[in-house]
Point group: C2
Chain length 360, copies 2
């Protein structure tokens, strides 16, 4: 069974084969091969349901700030911690590593002033001479919560905690604890695409299907290449590494690769607050390029007409890894695949909401 086709002109050429009927059904739904084979410029743009993206994108800003306390290190707010979890964190801190202060009311003459609470790293930890020592002390507390089952999915992988991407990290925490503390994570997503004809109707995107073995969003649709941003690697080096590992994309082809923007979001999950900033990259590829996965993280690649993939997203959003769908939507805005004409009442607010989390 064939999930997608590539071919600069003449006969389509199969690129990936999948095995199960279930997989094939999803793939065919996604690729809409009859549309793929139609001449790119002659077939009309398939309609999008109005209002879908307004409702869909709301999930990426879905949290109640009143339920969270800022996580402060000195004067910097570096995360947001759900109030009940803050109390668990305090109870698990043998040496007051995390100092929790709930809201308080101050009386000054005739005015009542409610001061919002916070979770603070104890000054003793701030004064520790190394990131390593500080991070170890914090990890001791987090481990207690893991043993109690309050932190799930431990990965044994530390992530820097920063207010701004360019900051030197003052603390590193276990990756699984990041949402519980509401700290920011960063990632890089690369949109690979092919132009078969002029205009938005002539654009095709390379999508990957995530491996069934991935711990998160197994089997879902994703960008051609995507990955988290680890400590100690520049954005560019990380992108080149991911391009090589995930798609064997290398050499002169990379001349066309460029940063194209940023997508960010913040929403509540059962593990706390997911706060992510994804740096997006775009690369136009020649029609005869075929991505080949070498790190086992991708099950299949497919080349799909961009407009069809967007229509499909509105029909079955659950086929996608959610934040990758967000990155794809932002790409569609940049390339005129999703325009004001598609969604006159909502396009402006959807476009603005691609940046719901303020970086200020």
């Amino acid at each position: 069974m064939v999930t997608g086709f590539v071919g600069a002109g003449g006969a389509p050429r199969a690129v990936v084969r999948v095995r199960s009927v279930r997989e094939t059904r999803a793939a065919v739904k996604c690729c809409a091969s009859s549309t793929l084979h139609a001449a790119a410029t002659s077939s009309p743009a398939r309609a999008l349901p109005r209002g879908f993206f307004r409702r869909w994108i709301a999930q990426f800003a879905d949290y109640d700030p009143a339920q969270y306390l800022p996580f402060m290190i000195g004067n910097d707010a570096l995360g947001s911690i759900e109030k009940e979890f803050a109390l668990e964190l305090q109870a698990a801190s043998p040496d007051d590593e995390f100092v929790v202060e709930l809201e308080r009311c101050e009386i000054d003459g005739e005015f009542f002033l409610t001061v919002p609470g916070s979770v603070r790293l104890h000054p003793r930890l701030i004064e520790l001479p190394s990131v390593q020592e500080r991070s170890d002390r914090v990890e001791r507390v987090l481990r207690v919560l893991q043993q109690q089952g309050a932190i799930q999915g431990w990965r044994n992988e530390r992530q820097p905690v920063v207010a701004h991407f360019a900051d030197k990290p003052f603390l590193e925490v276990e990756r699984a604890a990041v949402p519980y503390l509401g700290c920011q994570s960063f990632g890089t997503h690369i949109n690979g695409y092919v132009r078969r004809a002029a205009g938005p109707q002539g654009l095709y995107v390379w999508l990957s299907r995530r491996s069934r073995n991935k711990p998160t969003y197994a089997g879902r649709l994703d960008q051609m290449v995507a990955g988290g941003q680890p400590v100690g690697l520049s954005l560019s080096d990380n992108v080149l590494k991911e391009c090589e590992e995930e798609a064997t994309l290398r050499g002169a082809l990379l001349d066309n690769l460029h940063m194209s923007g940023v997508v960010s979001y913040r929403y509540s999950t059962r593990k706390g607050l997911s706060t992510k900033t994804l740096f997006t990259y775009d690369i136009e590829l020649p029609g005869d390029f075929e991505p080949v996965n070498s790190d086992g993280e991708v099950e299949a690649f497919m080349l799909v007409r961009a407009r069809d993939a967007l229509v499909q997203l509105t029909q079955e959003p659950d086929l996608w890894k959610p934040n990758s769908a967000l990155v794809f939507l932002a790409w569609c805005v940049r390339h005129g695949v999703y325009t004001m004409e598609d969604d006159p009442d909502d396009w402006l607010s959807v476009t603005a909401a691609l940046h719901p989390y303020s970086h200020s």
Copy 2:
């Protein structure tokens, strides 16, 4: 004297001639022809001063909300009026057309509650059967203020007043009065560009120099094509009309034209609050295309390496029409000409600030 060159490969070809020494100096500064002639891929990217865009972009969100009252028509907030001007508006309303209510304090049991004020269109005007009658009644008041010198630059051109772009206007007001009432305006800006080599270093943009006869920002740099969005014309029709009038851009070339995003801003001016939403379009053009102006609004066109134009903007921002520079900066973000690597501390906030005015 030559301001810019086009040439797909071999000898550069002059496209525009300007007359005065002053003009030539500005043009040469802008075009940096020595850089233009260097091979696009071999010359290194010129450095940008860090932090420039953070400071520069702050002007597009520079206003104090506390100085303004919402302009309400029924339950819709359709503008923002500076408090002193609101009182002038009230004084000029013989029949209470504009009802001004300053902040008031409500006492409910033990709580004091400050209710923000507003400027409201009188219900009698809301009940009028036609937009025309309503707009005429409003114009009568605005004319009084014009005669008093409180509204300047009367154009005899009405603009729709809407909360959302797609809304049917309930009121139309004289264009010169729009900032005084703080109502939204809309425009379309088209980035025309040429690719001479792979990657951001190979991108060249077509810039126009506005005619010396334009009432605003005469002689400043602008997009290849740009214009306000008038009543009764769709976005696409307006863009096609502007492309034809301003650059003689027509026919099959337009297949590559697509909407690419939106830039919006709100800042205070001596005339009130400038609140604009600019729909941006991108079009990649063949190397042998030359824009020709036919409506007298453009004095000259020039093709400039994008990175050079961006560096030049940081050196002499006053050469540009400010909002056109903002649209150019957003284009540079999309095409990797201005990236995180250029401005590690500020790129994220600058990128986010391209949408400072919320559409919610």
